[in-house]
Symmetry: C2
Subunit: 321 residues, 2 copies
Amino acid sequence: MGKMFVGIDLGGTNIKIGLFDAELKLINNTSVATQADMGPDVVIGKMAETVEKLLAEANLPLSDVVAVGIGTPGPAKYSEGVIIKSTNMPTFKNVPICKMLNDKLGKPIVFDNDANVACFGEYAVGAGQGVKDMVFFTLGTGIGGGIISNGELVHGCAENAAELGHMIIYPDGRTCNCGQKGCVEAYASADSTARRATEAVEAGAESSLKKVLDKKGRITSKDIYQHLVEGDSLAKEITDGTAKALAITCINMLHTTEPKRIVFAGGMIAAGDVLLGRIQEYFDEYIWTLKKEPVEICFATLGEDAGIIGAAALAKHNCPA
Amino acid sequence: MGKMFVGIDLGGTNIKIGLFDAELKLINNTSVATQADMGPDVVIGKMAETVEKLLAEANLPLSDVVAVGIGTPGPAKYSEGVIIKSTNMPTFKNVPICKMLNDKLGKPIVFDNDANVACFGEYAVGAGQGVKDMVFFTLGTGIGGGIISNGELVHGCAENAAELGHMIIYPDGRTCNCGQKGCVEAYASADSTARRATEAVEAGAESSLKKVLDKKGRITSKDIYQHLVEGDSLAKEITDGTAKALAITCINMLHTTEPKRIVFAGGMIAAGDVLLGRIQEYFDEYIWTLKKEPVEICFATLGEDAGIIGAAALAKHNCPA
């Protein structure tokens, strides 16, 4: 088989693990319950066993594995391989996950935060292929990010670079979960988009979304895009607010690390062209006219597997065979 | 003497040239008129002659020079060593400056834009010493910038990264020279700061700056800081607007490339602590409270020589002896 890489996406509920060949093609993969309450020893032991099981199923020896990549939410000292703590895994406190997994598998372990890992996956084999400078946004409950500059992830001085959801675009604007005011996340995440719609309906705006709120007690971003397609004007206004906030953020990234491609991922991209098209329109409206900018704005292509693919891609990048 | 580096700051009016030892200590330096109207051949010939003259004055052989760095405003294809055109040097069109100077001196030529070069100078031997992640702003007529990430300048996909003055912080705000609305440059450059004060006085604001406007026909940023120290409330309000815009931009850079240090340079820093203190206060007020951020905000230390020092530092970085 030659050289292989393992990608692990460690979440609070599930651990996803994939086995990849040297071209980062998936050989096989699986998902097991994290059961963080059992403690780090058990969880990391299960990670190692699952890797061995995937290898056995594929009739491949552990010796063919070059390196293992892990992505997980922080806070962590990624360069030191230590999870400091975890909201979703309360038993994980100052856990030297890289050393512990290396003890079991005897392989180099590459470790980074989940957004960086997904970013690197898109860069290596997804929507970012073929460029060396890329910016990545995940549009979910919050907005996460990743930056690739000249082919490398930007980590920053304390490994907290690319907290792109917390760029302030409206000083003194809406309060964000982080405590700042006017963050792009406070306007354009799935949750904030839904919240802005809910507030507008509650304030008396005419909208077909009112029925949704009355019936379900809440409005989701999915509802908004559906009602937008059906012609609701509030849904359009709310979507415009999201798209404009994202477009301004794209412009700011262009003037910062100057990506060739900006890739959006996360649940919100299910909205499709109705969202992407508006982001591009606002971008074109608000960007300077000094020159034609080379940036391409697009959606991610790896979907749910970005975590395992990205972890394997990062393992390959940092530990080439 | 050992190994030496030459730093050249090519401007529309003067060419500054410095000769530096391996520790980037200045050996000697000079400034000659650019006389761009004589054309690129003459100008670049003069650069080479001046380098040789500096070497002769110091009794040092050309063979001791390892590499030459040049900084100049764009637009240019820096990685290809070509000045595309120049506002201040109209005779410079598609000039392969690196090849032309290399033909004369026989040394590797390193080439970058003036803001990146000054940024790298501060990073190597100025206010950025000791960190690997830094952001640099020049506060002059406009606002320029530079980004160092993990010890390297960020150039971007088309060599136009770090146009930090054109980050939008007030969407639909003041129109910038670049055509965008709400750029930080439209609020916080020396020119914009002066313009905001002038507009306020003309609109009837009470201020001791009115006498300045009546007498000189204009208000400069220097006037504003002087009147601020003397207790003028409009001068304080205008300075606050500048400081807040810069602080928001610092926060956005922190959430982007996460610098350890943010360095301000340019004419405006003559304002001193009255400006730096307010930037820090707004930063502390607007930054999230999730954690104590590690960033240090300070002023540049190299002054007018940043261009030649930075060019030599970049030459040393890219062509170590």
